[in-house]
C-alpha cells in the first residue's frame, strides 16, 4: 500500500540533477513584472489581489512592522501559487516537504522574535508571563510559555506540510477507490466520484487558506514584537 501512494512525494531528480529547483522556481513565471501604469489583464488582476491582501494584512502593524510588507506578500503569493499548482495532475508540490516549510518558518519566526528582543526587550520578556497569574503558578507558567514560544515555528511548518500532504493523499486514495469500484458497483463509484469532486473543491480552498494562515501567523508574531 505504502510505496505506491507516496511516490508522488519523492523529490524529483532527473539523471541526478535536481529538477526540484526548476519546479520551485516555476511559479515566478506566472507573476510577470509590470512596466506601465495600465497593464495587461494578468498583471492587473494580480495587482488587485496583492493590494487587497496587503491592505487586509498589514493595516494592523505600525510603521516598523509595515517594513515587512514585501516579505509577507511574497510569502503568501509563493505558498498560494505553489499549493494551487500542486493540484494539477502529476505535479510535485514543494510545500509537502517538511524541509522546505521549516526553511520558511524558522527564519521568519526567528526574525520576528529577535527583532522584538532587540528593540523592546522588556515587553518581549513580559510575554512569558500572562497578566494576573497567581504567584505560586509563576515558575510553571514561564516554562509553559517558553515551550509555546519555541513550538511556534515547528507548528507553522508542520501545519502547512500536514495539511497539503493529507489533502493530496486523500485525493489519491479516493480517486483510486473510485476506479476500483467502477468494476464492482457503479452506484458506489458514482457516490465516491461526487466525494472526489467535493474534496477537490476543498483542496482548492485549503491551498489558499493555508497560505493565508501561514502569513497571518507570521504577521501576528511580528505584531507582538514590533
Amino acid at each position: 500500500m505504502n510505496e505506491n501512494l507516496f511516490t508522488s512525494f519523492i523529490t524529483p531528480m532527473m539523471l541526478g540533477l535536481p529538477l526540484v529547483t526548476l519546479i520551485i522556481l516555476f511559479p515566478s513565471l506566472l507573476f510577470p513584472s509590470s512596466n506601465r501604469l495600465i497593464n495587461n489583464r494578468l498583471i492587473s488582476l494580480q495587482q488587485w489581489a496583492l493590494q487587497l491582501m496587503s491592505k487586509q494584512m498589514m493595516s494592523i502593524h505600525n510603521t516598523k512592522g509595515q517594513t515587512w510588507t514585501l516579505m509577507l506578500m511574497s510569502l503568501i503569493l509563493f505558498i498560494g501559487s505553489t499549493n494551487l499548482l500542486g493540484l494539477l495532475p502529476h505535479s510535485f508540490t514543494p510545500t509537502t516537504q517538511l524541509s522546505m516549510n521549516l526553511g520558511m518558518a524558522i527564519p521568519l519566526w526567528a526574525g520576528a522574535v529577535i527583532t522584538g528582543f532587540r528593540n523592546k526587550t522588556k515587553a518581549s520578556l513580559a510575554h512569558f508571563l500572562p497578566q494576573g497569574t497567581p504567584t505560586p503558578l509563576i515558575p510553571m507558567l514561564v516554562i509553559i510559555e517558553t515551550i509555546s514560544l519555541f513550538i511556534q515555528p515547528m507548528a507553522l511548518a508542520v501545519r502547512l506540510t500536514a495539511n497539503i500532504t493529507a489533502g493530496h493523499l486523500l485525493i489519491h486514495l479516493i480517486g483510486g477507490a473510485t476506479l476500483a469500484l467502477t468494476s464492482i458497483s457503479p452506484t458506489t463509484a458514482l457516490i465516491t466520484f461526487i466525494i472526489l469532486i467535493l474534496l477537490t473543491i476543498l483542496e482548492f480552498a485549503v491551498a489558499m487558506i493555508q497560505a493565508y494562515v501561514f502569513t497571518l501567523l507570521v504577521s501576528l508574531y511580528l505584531h507582538d514584537n514590533t
Partner: protein, 104 residues
C-alpha cells in the same frame, strides 16, 4: 539575388535543408547564449498571448498545460511500472488486491 545573407544571421525557416547541420553548429551555445535564447522565447510567448489588450485565460492555460505535460513526461517511468503491476494483478493496483478479494 541582389545580396546574399550570411548563414549565421538567417532564421530557422529560411535555412535550406542541406545547410541545416552547419547552421545548428553555428548557433551560440555559450551559457549567456542559451540564457538569451530562453529569454527571447519567454518574451515571444508573453508578448503574443499575455501582454495584449484583451488577454484571455488561454495564455495562462497553455503554460499550465505544458507544465502538466512536462511533469507527466518526468513521471512516465513510474506510472508505466505501476500500470504493469496493476494489469498483472487482474485490473486492480497491487496494494488493493486484498481489499477487492474481500469485497467479492
Amino acid at each position: 539575388m541582389a545580396s546574399v545573407v550570411p548563414l549565421k544571421e538567417k532564421k530557422l525557416l529560411e535555412v535550406k535543408l542541406g545547410e541545416l547541420p552547419s547552421w545548428i553548429l553555428m548557433r551560440d551555445f555559450t551559457p549567456s547564449g542559451i540564457a538569451g535564447a530562453f529569454q527571447r522565447g519567454y518574451y515571444r510567448y508573453y508578448n503574443k498571448y499575455v501582454n495584449v489588450k484583451k488577454g484571455s485565460i488561454a495564455g495562462l492555460s497553455m503554460v499550465l498545460a505544458a507544465y502538466v505535460f512536462l511533469n507527466y513526461c518526468r513521471s512516465y517511468k513510474e506510472l508505466s511500472e505501476s500500470l504493469l503491476d496493476c494489469f498483472a494483478s487482474g485490473g486492480v493496483s497491487p496494494d488493493r488486491v486484498g481489499l477487492v478479494h474481500r469485497l467479492i
